[in-house]
């Protein structure tokens, strides 16, 4: 056969195979509309899908073939797939500022009206979560769970070393004193320290506890070059390399190779269960993974503070992709999120705090019948949301991913002894302020707002320097709003 004949045959074969493949694809044979949801894998996810379909049947709603896409939850993948028109129907976001980025790109469907009529509007979840799900007064997502970043303590570890349980609140000095006591008792003298008091502390929470946020009151300027931030950086360095309360990046990398892949949250939980780390930072979403490591006696502590107790609060959310081919079917899952069936399953699985705080006060959540070792923990998480929880600061003038990258890089340089704390703080502030200036240059429509807010900031500063109070409405930064109220600086 001539070569042309062979090639023609191959072409025909491939054409037939392509049609065969197309008509055998699952979506063409599935009876229900398919909805893709980007999220974490695992039996709990599949169980949630099963419950969802049961709920659909109970509510006499038509069936939905919900599929979890476990491999595409990385934020950059969400963006790339989203702008390419092939995003999942339900897009996850764990941070309010990230949700704003997706919204700014037009990837999200405005849910306000349909949620109001469909029974999954803002009234069905905690009002504090509305800061995360709402943008300019419109609803763009529904919270799947709430989180507040506190510290879990393994009480068994403390008991084994004859140390008293740590108090629920600690100042920086108390944290350091107790930490020193722990690491000295836990590590044999003269040997390299392999057991640590805490896996990590949050620079954001620490500087907020000193009355400082990443941005000023009107979000117009970065304030990381403040001496309070320099103090925080120095403290973390000291705790990591001098008194060794915290593991360094190298220690953490080492933990990652200890064969401790017992949970999706990495090796820190395994080390925590083993008693090599006494306290781990995280939210109640860790409970599910901790349960797999045994019945640890747990307590929940607030992060160490310098005078103003606080903890980062947020919500894991699902938003509807603007290019979804099945928006009606996808919204049925958002309705399910508002149902008691969803919250019940969430409570049973220990994957997080239900967005509906009434459900979060349910006895089964506060005192899980099968897990008496956890009693008291969830209560503290829920209390913290209502008392000390503050979301990440969203700024209209700089993307969260950008300012996070800049401040992290400066922090890493400092921790690697490439610069002093002062230089790191200056580098972060200069970098972020340069980004703000760049945003204003690229988006001139923001300039007027920035100028108004800058003028207002000058007025706030003048008033504060005279010791006068300021109107709450002047303050844009969610942290400063709470801080000013707590200090009695509001008119």
């Amino acid at each position: 056969m001539p070569i042309k004949g062979v090639l023609l045959l191959a072409f025909l074969g491939l054409t037939v195979a392509s049609f065969g493949l197309y008509f055998s694809r699952e979506h063409t044979v599935s009876g229900a509309p398919i909805v893709y949801m980007t999220g974490s894998p695992g039996p709990d996810g599949q169980e949630m899908v099963r419950r969802f379909r049961e709920w659909l049947a109970k509510e006499n709603l038509s069936d939905v073939d919900l599929r979890i896409d476990a491999s595409n939850s990385d934020p950059s993948k969400v963006v790339i797939q989203g702008i390419s028109g092939i995003g999942a129907d339900l897009i996850p976001s764990n941070l309010g500022p990230d949700l704003r980025y997706l919204k700014a790109m037009g990837l999200l469907t405005d849910l306000t009206d349909v949620a109001e009529h469909g029974g999954f509007g803002p009234k069905t979840f905690a009002s504090v979560a509305q800061v995360e799900t709402g943008i300019d007064g419109r609803q763009f997502a529904y919270p799947t769970l709430l989180y507040v970043l506190m510290n879990y303590a393994n009480l068994d570890t403390f008991a084994l070393l004859d140390l008293p349980p740590p108090p629920p609140q600690m100042s920086f000095d108390e944290f350091e004193a107790l930490g020193k006591q722990f690491v000295e008792k836990a590590n044999p003298p003269g040997q390299k320290r392999r057991r640590f008091f805490c896996n990590a502390v949050s620079p954001l929470t620490m500087r907020r506890s000193l009355g400082l946020d990443t941005f000023n009151e009107t979000l117009t300027q970065c304030t990381l070059d403040d001496p309070r931030n320099i103090r925080v950086l120095s403290l973390i360095h000291q705790w990591t390399y001098d008194v060794r309360l915290l593991p360094s990046a190298t220690d953490m990398a080492s933990f990652a190779s200890d064969g401790s892949t017992a949970s999706s949250f990495g090796p820190r939980l395994y080390q925590f269960a083993q008693g090599n780390i006494a306290i781990i930072a995280g939210g109640s979403y860790l409970t599910n993974s901790l349960r797999k490591l045994g019945n640890l006696r747990l307590a929940v502590l607030e992060p160490p503070n310098g005078g103003f107790p606080n903890a980062v609060f947020g919500a894991a959310m699902l938003a509807l992709y603007a290019g979804s081919p099945n928006p009606e079917a996808a919204m049925r899952y958002l309705r399910f999120l508002a149902s008691p069936e969803y919250s019940t399953q969430l409570i049973a699985s220990g994957q997080g705090i239900p967005a509906n705080l009434t459900m979060a006060r349910h006895p089964d959540f506060l005192h899980p019948p099968d897990h008496p070792n956890e009693w008291g923990c969830n209560e503290r998480f829920v209390d913290a949301i209502e008392t000390i929880g503050i979301p990440y600061t969203p700024s209209p003038f700089v993307l969260y991913s950008v300012y996070h990258r800049i401040s992290e890089e400066a922090f890493e340089r400092f921790m690697a002894d490439r610069c002093t704390a002062e230089e790191a703080a200056r580098r972060a502030a200069d970098g972020i302020n340069a980004e703000i200036a760049r945003t204003l240059e690229e988006q001139p429509e923001l300039k007027e707002r920035h100028e108004v807010l800058t003028a207002r900031q000058r007025e706030i500063d003048a008033r504060r320097s005279r010791g006068e109070k300021v109107p709450l409405a002047w303050i844009e930064n969610p942290f400063h709003r709470l801080y000013y109220q707590a200090q009695g600086w509001i008119e």
Partner: protein
């Protein structure tokens, strides 16, 4: 049928077969290339314009390039890229050495394989005994050292297709899988790399600690003296060789002078290196008492060398090795035989015959390595370090990605990509101008 209609028909048929490929190239390579060039001069931001947002895209001229070139971070990332490229000469040398070892065909492979099999069996038995005796660390070090030795010996003496396959294996493995493996290997506490290095460092530490306190200074003086001897003897040898090479034929005289200058430079570099080492010796002795293994990927200073070492490993069995293998097969045997008859040793044969014959391939490899070096580093950074610590492993390609999809500034990201292209183009031009001439001389 007229000849012209036949050739036209053949052209149409040929084009029809090529059409899918041409269409694919136009759609997925050429068109995006021009679009990205246009984007580099705009303010295209995903927040302004994408399939869901129809915001106006503005022409901003050279603003993106101006911003980029005045950004200190850009120069840091460019420096990182160049630093990682310092490994290229070593990688090329490694692939050449591997190809040389693998191109060696022994006369009686079976007989030469016997000692290797015996050595392997002995090594395995030794490791087994050490593990049984509870000294797994020593067994591991022995195993690693022995494995390398056996591989090199095996390549040198057997040089069969089996070894060629083994050396080429890393090229079959997916990059990300390899990077994850290396990430585990670089683990500072439990990784095999540090496990292999630590015993040696411990021994050096013990040796230094037990040495008399003045050893560092004494050794420093000895090395300084040695550098003087190298300089003196080396220059004498260069002068002697130059006298031997001297000729009245003008072109040859010029070449001989050039070679002598190179030789003198080489001797000078060696002597200077030894002298500089002698200056550092007392400091080394002072610090060597507590020698520690590096924190490879989490230490600012070690992260880049760690990636370079990994790249060096990958290059040993790379496509460059295949190119060298093919080129070595084309070196005329008659030349080698003639040189042997004239009394040339293996090193002389390599320097005077093999290496010049390999010059065109080496030139090609250098060009391709420099291009891929400037473009590279993204997968490694993304998988192993996320560009950290402190931006130490952020290369230009990783910077393109983060600006494009973390911040959504597609216009700016395109400007970075085209600036990178300009660097690649300029370096390639320089390579062509100077390297091509050198390769053909």
């Amino acid at each position: 049928m007229k000849p012209s209609s036949v050739s036209f028909r053949a052209l149409v048929v040929g084009l029809a077969f090529l059409l899918p490929n041409i269409l694919g190239f136009l759609t997925f390579t050429l068109a995006p290339l021009f679009v990205s060039l246009a984007m580099a001069f705009t303010n295209w931001d995903l927040r302004l314009h994408n399939m869901f947002n129809g915001g106006e895209i503005k022409f901003v001229g050279l603003a993106n390039f101006q911003r980029l070139l005045t950004l200190p971070d850009f120069w840091q990332y460019f420096g990182n890229t160049l630093f990682l490229m310092l490994g290229i000469p070593f990688s090329i040398a490694a692939s050449l050495l591997t190809a040389l070892l693998l191109s060696h065909q022994p006369k009686s492979p079976r007989r030469q394989a016997i000692p290797i099999i015996l050595a392997g069996t002995g090594l395995s038995a030794g490791c087994g005994l050490l593990v049984a005796a509870g000294t797994a660390g020593s067994a591991f070090s022995l195993l690693i050292a022995g494995l390398f030795t056996l591989m090199f010996l095996g390549g040198a003496s057997v040089g069969t297709g089996f070894y060629r396959t083994i050396y080429y294996l890393p090229n079959f493995t997916a990059g990300v899988a390899t990077f994850l493996l290396w990430k585990k290997m670089y683990d500072p506490q439990t990784g095999p790399v540090n496990a292999a290095i630590q015993p040696a460092l411990d021994r050096i530490s013990a040796l230094v600690t037990s040495a008399p306190s003045h050893s560092g200074t004494t050794l420093s003086w000895l090395m300084a003296g040695m550098s003087a001897v190298i300089l003196f003897v080396g220059m004498r040898l260069v002068a002697a060789r130059h006298a031997f090479d001297r000729t009245d034929y003008r072109p040859h005289r010029h070449q001989a002078a050039k070679r002598s200058v190179w030789r003198a430079g080489f001797v000078l570099a060696i002597a200077a290196g030894v002298f500089l080492l002698s200056r550092e010796t007392p400091g080394f002795f002072a610090a060597a008492g507590g020698l520690k293994t590096p924190n490879w990927l989490t230490d600012y200073h070690w992260a880049k060398p760690a990636l370079m070492i990994m790249g060096f490993w990958a290059s040993i069995g790379s496509n460059n090795m295949l190119l060298y293998l093919a080129a070595l097969g084309n070196v005329p045997k008659e030349l080698q035989e003639a040189a042997s008859i004239d009394g040339a040793g293996p090193l002389q044969r390599f320097v005077s015959i093999t290496w010049p014959q390999l010059a065109p391939v080496t030139f090609f490899i250098i060009i391709m390595s420099v291009i891929s070096g400037l473009q590279g580093g993204f997968e490694m950074a993304r998988t192993m370090t996320q560009g950290g610590p402190g931006g130490a492993t952020t290369t230009l390609s990783y910077f393109v990605f983060s600006e494009g999809f973390t911040t959504g500034r597609l216009g700016y990201a395109s400007a970075i990509a085209w600036t990178l292209f300009a660097f690649v183009f300029a370096v390639t031009l320089l390579n062509w101008k100077f390297g091509n001439r050198a390769a053909n001389e």
